[in-house]
Symmetry: C2
């Protein structure tokens, strides 16, 4: 990207006009510092679109309009920045979790609603996408994510539904949900991405219910 050109569709965090004839000087900038937040925002954007390995700290720093050394100063290392960038979901996750526990809806619809709502928040969606992208080529991360899904989502749901073959059903339904979310995230032009949240829930619930409750063939152990 040519210097000075601004990539479209991205928050203008911290890339303050830097106007006037004065070229960038060293030292602290005037006014309150939003730099750490700006770095986090652009890091999430890069990590979620290109993955960890293909994203350079220099590109993030360029996006945020700061020096690469600031990343080390705020987050210690590239890994530290990644960890901070994907730590976001846990905060907005809580309201959805609360609703998941207290809502009066039928269990499967509750799960679908919570899930779609999670992906509705852009930062959370980017963080989840980055996590999945990384889990895709790191076996340990993948196993950890699977265990998380099983413990936090599957265990209560399956227990409430009381079905057989919980792990098999859970892996199928989680795969189905993840595939839909990823297609919406990475192919914004596809038909799935043009559905609203409510339509999406309506579309997903029947299949999820089928996967979770329909009788399995005899062959499976």
């Amino acid at each position: 990207m040519p210097p000075g050109a601004s990539r479209p569709g991205l928050a203008q965090h911290g890339v303050a006009p830097r106007s006037g004839p004065d070229q960038p000087k060293a030292g602290r900038r005037p006014g309150p510092s939003t730099t750490a937040q700006a770095i986090l925002t652009h890091a999430r954007d890069r990590f979620s679109r290109h993955g960890y390995a293909k994203t350079s700290l220099r590109s993030i720093a360029d996006d945020a309009g700061v020096d690469p050394a600031l990343i080390a100063h705020f987050f210690g290392s590239k890994r530290g920045l990644f960890d901070a960038a994907i730590q976001v979901p846990l905060t907005p996750e809580l309201p959805a979790m609360v609703e998941f526990q207290t809502s009066a809806k039928e269990p499967v619809e509750r799960l679908a609603t919570m899930y779609v709502k999670l992906w509705e928040t852009p930062e959370v969606a980017q963080a989840l996408a980055a996590i999945i992208l990384e889990a895709a080529h790191d076996a340990a991360a993948a196993r950890a994510m699977a265990r998380f899904m099983y413990t936090w989502v599957g265990e209560p749901l399956v227990r409430e539904l009381g079905v057989d073959h919980p792990e098999l059903r859970l892996r199928m339904v989680v795969g189905f949900m993840g595939a839909i979310a990823l297609q919406r995230q990475f192919d914004a032009d596809c038909m799935l991405a043009q559905l609203g949240p409510d339509q999406l829930v309506e579309l997903m619930v029947p299949t999820m219910r089928f996967i979770l409750t329909s009788p399995l063939p005899q062959g499976v152990p």
Copy 2:
């Protein structure tokens, strides 16, 4: 992985004992050369497990027991090697495609059988995994893969089934199938991976049929 342990399921291509006290000399080795094949094999392994960016040509060359410069000599560049490594599927794909066209089975079961059979061949599975991994962070590749799926798999199937909302249904069913295959590929210990091909087909078919044929909610356009 502990050193000295041999990773399972990998051909011992080209990493010939290189026995004797003679250290590696320059110049052509005696006997017929299997080096290009060895490089391809180990490239598929690395690319499918760690993705394109995280895989270095030096690591592939080490696995194959050759000098990194040989990769440039045989395949031109890293991209050339990747392209060659994922070009494999098209050859073994043909028998499955033929069976797909001529088998007397019901359409959905035919699709599932063909798909599972594709992933049964290790090289094809690695190539497909590498493609999907790369498509995950390259929007152009993802779009191309989606179009491929739609043209080669979805179009005939949907036409034969004659259902409404073909793109929506196709994206859901392809996502479902992909999610199952990827979980089998990347988490060999999970329950899905311990199912045999026939059991897997039996498990997948009902959900696939449900996705492809069950009536959709009114809301969707």
